[in-house]
């Protein structure tokens, strides 16, 4: 059986409106899966439901490393397998960045070293700052650090880098590739296709609550599918002279 598999996952609202049409996906351990789709195409529904934190009605199965993920499950054993991380962090109360990192460690069965991740992300300078006083980008960066320390088997990142500057974004790309090489699996949704093409082993394109195409980046990020997503736009795909990955020009 595949390390991470989604089988005929189907999500509806209580009123019967379909949010995600039956979707299946098989993912190997240590892969990075990019998810792209227009606004309202069902990305967040898809990501929340595979992570077991979807509040709508869902049928179908999600398996991670031999365990089925459901909403009813004990969250601590579920989060150890698969963790959903979003993009914004309202914090009516405040704690220091260092405490946030320690929380990541405290909630995990097999945490990564706080010192190590703090150093790797360059978070040391922020250690004694209150999370509420950070910029939006710094908050996302700190939350990503916390999630890495907590060390789930599959990390689902839903626009979790939307406020990062270019330097941190490329830093994130490096960190993700390193973690993936060490065995962590990533599902990353972003509106930045050029970022996704850089980090992803496979790309999933979504449209109208279903998967339009899933596969290797070069099979998905091409003018054929871009035209299906955006018939009115003039988009071009070129290869980056630096990384050899597909990039969008408009």
């Amino acid at each position: 059986m595949m390390y991470f598999s989604v089988r005929k996952l189907h999500v509806q609202t209580a009123e019967g409106k379909t949010l995600l049409r039956p979707t299946s996906l098989e993912i190997e351990r240590g892969k990075v899966i990019g998810v792209y789709g227009p606004n309202g195409s069902g990305k967040t529904t898809f990501l929340r439901s595979i992570a077991g934190v979807n509040s709508h009605f869902q049928i179908g199965e999600v398996w991670v490393d031999g365990m089925q993920i459901t909403h009813a499950q004990n969250p601590s054993s579920r989060v150890h397998r698969i963790m959903y991380l979003g993009s914004d962090y309202p914090s009516p109360f405040d704690i220091r960045v260092r405490e946030l990192m320690e929380m990541g460690s405290g909630f995990s069965g097999k945490p990564q070293s706080v010192e190590h991740i703090t150093a790797e992300l360059g978070l040391k300078a922020l250690n004694s700052r209150l999370v509420g006083t950070l910029s939006d980008g710094e908050k996302q960066w700190a939350m990503f650090g916390r999630a890495l320390i907590q060390s789930p088997q599959v990390m689902v990142l839903d626009e979790s880098f939307s406020k990062l500057d270019l330097d941190k974004l490329l830093h994130a790309a490096k960190v993700i590739q390193k973690q993936a090489a060490a065995g962590m699996t990533f599902v990353v949704a972003s509106h930045d296709l050029n970022f996704l093409s850089e980090i992803s082993d496979q790309l999933v394109l979504m449209q109208n609550g279903k998967i339009l195409q899933a596969g290797e980046v070069r099979e998905t990020l091409n003018s054929f599918y871009l035209e299906k997503l955006y018939p009115a736009l003039q988009l071009q795909v070129i290869k980056s002279p630096n990384s050899g990955k597909e990039k969008i020009i408009y």
């Binding site: 969250p75 989060v79 309202p90 929380m103």
Partner: protein, 323 residues
């Protein structure tokens, strides 16, 4: 840093208790006044003060709302109403001077509140508005009920609405203290889970903590605690609001330290308030709830205005408390 906070809090508690016991003491009858009058009410103040502060801390956390406390959310008035109704209809749920009807009232109001907030789909401010309206509604219903159904007891409407520690018997006070300590231990044991609530409802489960289950546990323990406190000493407001914010300034928002420090500070605060209520009004006595509200209500407004202005919430209060 944190050791100092524990030390100062404990010193504050000891001094407050000493003041409450010894203030304007008539030394010729010191023995009887202390054992018969002041000791029981000081134990009650310590127990109720810590209970209310604990309830404030955990409610603020699990409801992601810095303005929450038993009084502002209407839980205290639900408890008072439950106790009064229970007494009149002869509900036999009493033991050691504590009233089970109050627990039912507190639970009922909390569930109504959570349901209404969920239905309205609004955030923190709506919760406080609904809570304050429930509180007023409960208090009014209580006044009407006492006037119509319980003519002999009309005078004690003041007891319910403004609190009074003078009638608490020693056995009741000790029972309250035991409950308060047990609740404190429970909240301390789930302090890690409570920490996961610091980033709001959406993120709780990303730490591996069940949002609904933890919230339910807290709501039930809070209802029991508030019900017992109110049935023994009426509604004492704002201790649960002021003390947690004060404690956060000292030890930050992690519950491992926030829970015990709040309990200690809450105990000291109510003991001191009760001492002041007697001292200021001497030879008569001010209602202790009026004293706490005189300090608490302005602070509530300050916090509300501040959180609106900065948008960052009340946690930003502790910015100046750098390590």
């Amino acid at each position: 840093m944190k050791k100092k906070v524990y030390l100062y809090s404990t010193v504050f508690l000891v001094v407050s208790v000493a003041l409450s016991l010894l203030f304007k003491l008539d030394w010729s009858q010191a023995g009887i006044i202390l054992t018969e009058l002041r000791f029981p009410r000081t134990v009650a103040a310590v127990a109720i003060g810590s209970a209310l502060a604990l309830c404030g801390v955990v409610l603020q956390t699990v409801l992601s709302n810095p303005l929450s406390e038993p009084y502002t959310l209407g839980i205290a008035s639900g408890a008072a109403l439950g106790a009064a109704l229970g007494k009149t209809i002869g509900l036999r749920l009493n033991f050691l001077g504590l009233n089970g009807g109050a627990v039912i009232g507190a639970l009922a109001i909390l569930f109504i509140l959570l349901r209404l907030v969920r239905k309205s789909g609004h955030g923190a401010e709506a919760m406080i508005l609904i809570g304050i309206m429930l509180s007023l509604f409960g208090s009014s219903l209580l006044s009407v009920w006492m006037a119509l159904a319980d003519p002999v007891g009309v005078q004690s409407v003041t007891f319910w609405l403004l609190g009074d520690l003078s009638r608490v018997e020693l056995k009741t006070a000790v029972a309250l203290l035991v409950f308060s300590i047990l609740a404190g231990i429970f909240f301390w044991m789930i302090s890690k889970k409570l920490d996961a609530f610091l980033f709001g409802e959406k993120w709780v489960e990303s730490f591996g903590v069940s949002y609904a289950r933890t919230q339910l546990q807290v709501v039930i323990v809070v209802s029991v605690l508030v019900g017992f406190c109110v049935s023994a000493a009426g509604m004492i407001g704002f201790v649960g609001l002021v003390v947690p914010h004060w404690a956060r300034k000292g030890v930050g928002s992690r519950h491992r330290d926030l829970v015990p420090v709040s309990a200690i500070l809450g105990a000291g605060t109510l003991a001191l308030s009760d001492g002041l209520a007697r001292a200021i009004g001497d030879p008569r006595e001010l209602p202790v709830g009026a004293v706490t509200a005189l300090v608490g209500a302005p602070l509530f407004i300050f916090l509300l205005v501040k959180s609106k202005k900065t948008g960052a919430g009340v946690g930003s209060l502790e910015q100046d408390g750098a390590e």
